[in-house]
């Protein structure tokens, strides 16, 4: 190679090096699950980019792999992501594992605990419960609610037949007992019409969330959240009655409903299979769209009904956004959160389709009338309760799935045996973790 060529190559290399050492534009990366709200967030952060010049990328991963991917990254202490929109149950593992940056001072400084709906602060941000230590900013509020076929409910013939059979008017169920009656009434396998669609998938938290709706409504509980005592609570008579009730609802589901989650429960409405369908509110936008739901115009929405004691609760879904301890851009991430909690940003977040947790926006007339399901969502967000958020939550979920699924779907054993098993398993787990003395 000639001397001239060598000099040319050297000059090129120096130029390339000079270019690479020029300051790169700042960029934040948020990890979230692959679903519509993540797309809304990507849309929202364009405003942040315009205002600050900082690019924000929302990286998504499919739901079944989300938890594994996030914790794999935490275990490796990787800095690929600066923020994570983590499930409410992750708070314990994220905080005690040292993966999340504590945001207690941030909360105090900006009054986040007051500006967000109280249940969302407790569910998505605080760990341990009642400690006033915060690890996430409530981002996507969510809980379970119901969609239903208004046209079936409003049909005069159906109304008359229902009144004749049950002695009261057919309408949106006010109690779980009403819901059972309606499910039974519309359950007509010979017409390919079924009563109800509920969660039965036992691979993560679907079945457990479904059961929690009834359990809490019946006045039962998972355990004592302060002492971690579970025996006598999760296997109480109330809990047993609630489980028997959930199994009864399963009788009125479409065929092959033994392992279903949000996709199938939405299909129950879009395909005209069921009269009512349980789902997280975050999945309802697809039902209002005539392109994805041919029954969109005749689909209505309601919040969980009351249990026998008059109590009304819903299983909490949704997520908060946390700063990852291993991020090298924690200051920039903190600035992003400051921007995100502003009232106008929360308003825009809600307009885009995100479920804001801002109390002010939630209570506004505009928000409650913006979609056919926002009123139900608003009611629900003030009656939510969550599963355990301890680092061992995955073991607790797994054990509950193992005990409840064979009873509800497989018709094996009794409700008493299933819940006694859960109580024993959880007792062992809490003792091993040193939480229960």
């Amino acid at each position: 190679m000639s001397k001239k060529k060598w000099s040319g190559l050297l000059a090129g290399a120096v130029f390339a090096l000079a270019c690479s050492s020029a300051p790169a534009a700042e960029k934040l990366t948020i990890l979230w699950a692959q679903w519509d709200p993540a797309n809304y967030l990507q849309e929202l952060v364009k405003d942040y980019e315009k205002q600050t010049g900082v690019t924000v990328k929302v990286e998504t991963t499919p739901w079944p792999d989300f938890q594994t991917k996030a914790f794999r990254e935490f275990a490796a202490k990787g800095d690929a992501y600066d923020l994570v929109v983590g499930d409410s149950q992750w708070l314990g593992a994220g905080s005690t594992g040292g993966h999340y940056v504590e945001l207690t001072d941030f909360f105090k400084k900006h009054g986040v605990d007051k500006s967000m709906a109280p249940a969302t602060v407790e569910g998505y941000a605080e760990y341990p419960k009642g400690s006033k230590h915060y690890w996430a900013v409530p981002l996507e509020g969510d809980a379970t609610g119901w969609s239903y076929r208004k046209d079936w409910f409003d049909d005069p013939k159906e109304k008359a037949a229902f009144k004749k059979k049950y002695g009261y008017d057919l309408g949106v169920p006010k109690t779980w007992a009403h819901m059972r009656d309606i499910a039974e009434f519309f359950h007509r396998p010979s017409e390919k019409r079924y009563g109800i669609a509920i969660y039965t998938d036992n691979s993560y938290d679907a079945l457990v969330m479904g059961y929690e709706n009834v359990l809490f409504g019946y006045g039962g509980d998972l355990g004592d959240y302060k002492t971690y005592k579970v025996k006598g609570i999760i296997d109480s008579k109330t809990a047993v009655d609630a489980l028997k009730f959930y199994k009864e609802l399963y009788k009125y589901t479409p065929p092959g409903w033994g392992k279903v989650f949000f996709l199938e429960d939405n299909q129950a409405i879009t395909e005209g299979l069921a009269s009512m369908s349980m789902n997280f509110f975050a999945f309802f936008p697809a039902l209002t769209n005539p392109a994805t739901n041919k029954n969109a115009k005749v689909t209505g929405y309601f919040a969980n009904p009351e249990g026998p004691t008059g109590k009304r609760f819903a299983a909490l879904g949704g997520q908060g956004i946390s700063i990852i301890k291993y991020s090298k851009k924690q200051d920039q991430a903190m600035k992003f959160l400051e921007w995100f909690i502003k009232d106008d940003v929360q308003q825009k977040w809600a307009e885009l389709g995100g479920y804001t947790c801002s109390a002010k926006v939630l209570q506004s007339e505009n928000f409650r009338k913006a979609t056919p399901y926002n009123q139900a969502f608003y009611e629900t967000m003030f009656m939510v309760k969550d599963f355990w958020a301890v680092p061992e939550y995955a073991e607790l979920l797994d054990s509950m799935n193992k005990r409840l699924h064979p009873f509800i779907v497989g018709n094996k054993g009794s409700a008493e045996e299933a819940l006694a098993g859960v109580a024993n398993d959880w007792d062992k787990t809490f003792r091993k973790a040193g939480l229960l003395k």
Partner: protein, 297 residues
């Protein structure tokens, strides 16, 4: 002893000895094996005696054999092993019956034999995830073709706790019978024709010919197929994980995955991986023993 280089060869001209060439090929492989196989194997053995959780920040504490004790006393784990054993028996048994049966049918003069054999091999060339999703649709109670053909209107193959495992095993049989067929066909076509001619002269019955000539001579290859399929079936994860998540289909590999990557019980899952490894090695050794006996015959 290594052969000397031909002085005129290119290697000799560049000054590379036989030993240098050998090292050039072998050392990278050995280094790769040590770094990616042996080292993690030993490292995870160490973890199996600790309470380490990769998701937490607490250091690993030595707890002796506690993980192994807990695992062996856990009724769920034994249930997972029982489910896995059932799955292996049904799946591998089915594959051997179907695969060997099809090989016997193909081991004769039939038109377009090459094309038929190639088409029969297609299932095993597909990805497990694709096969799982595809069969999930076939089994669907609402729109699956299986219920339509069998006239079972609402039967939930994958949601029925008593049937789901066998439904997954059936999918595995569909996918991997061609593998057994391929090895059996190789064994069958290697049997010398004169043995059959001699048997025909002696007026041996078809059954006698099959049990005294065909089966003994094809057994070594059939056993190799069984060894491979048993090891794979014992480790099955993707097919069962994709198709259903019933408790009755929770194979040992799925339990291991949940323990390691959903519950993040890293130490305990390492211990469980060792228990599984020992079991697979034990089963494989039994087969190898039979294989050697078959070869000696």
């Amino acid at each position: 002893m290594l052969a000397r280089l031909d002085p005129g060869s290119a290697s000799a001209r560049r000054g590379l000895s036989d030993i240098a060439i050998r090292n050039l090929f072998i050392i990278p492989t050995i280094v790769f094996l040590i770094v990616f196989n042996i080292f993690p194997l030993i490292y995870s053995l160490g973890y199996s005696f600790t309470d380490f959780r990769a998701s937490g920040s607490a250091p690993a504490n030595f707890i002796g054999l506690q993980n192994y004790r807990e695992l062996l006393a856990d009724e769920y784990i034994w249930n997972n092993f029982t489910i896995t054993a059932k799955y292996v028996l049904v799946s591998v048994g089915g594959q051997v019956l179907v695969g060997f049966g099809v090989a016997l049918l193909l081991n004769r003069k039939i038109p377009a034999k090459g094309l038929v054999t190639t088409l029969l091999l297609l299932p095993m060339m597909m990805s497990m995830a694709v096969v799982g999703l595809f069969w999930q649709l076939l089994y669907s109670p609402s729109w699956g073709i299986i219920n339509y053909v069998l006239g079972l209107e609402d039967f939930g193959w994958l949601s029925n706790a008593d049937v789901a495992l066998y439904a997954v095993a059936l999918t595995d049989i569909w996918m991997w019978s061609p593998f057994v067929m391929l090895l059996s066909l190789a064994g069958l076509s290697a049997i010398p024709q004169h043995l059959y001619e001699a048997a025909a002269i002696d007026r041996a019955t078809r059954w006698y010919t099959f049990t005294r000539i065909t089966l003994p001579l094809v057994t070594p290859l059939l056993l190799i197929a069984i060894i491979f399929r048993t090891m794979e079936a014992f480790k099955t994860f993707d097919l069962a994980f994709i198709m259903t998540s019933m408790e009755s289909t929770e194979l040992i590999a799925i339990r291991l995955y949940k323990m390691a990557f959903q519950e993040w019980q890293t130490g305990k899952s390492c211990a469980m991986a060792y228990v599984v490894l020992i079991m697979v090695l034990a089963i494989t050794n039994i087969y190898v023993k039979y294989l050697n006996q078959a070869k000696a015959r």
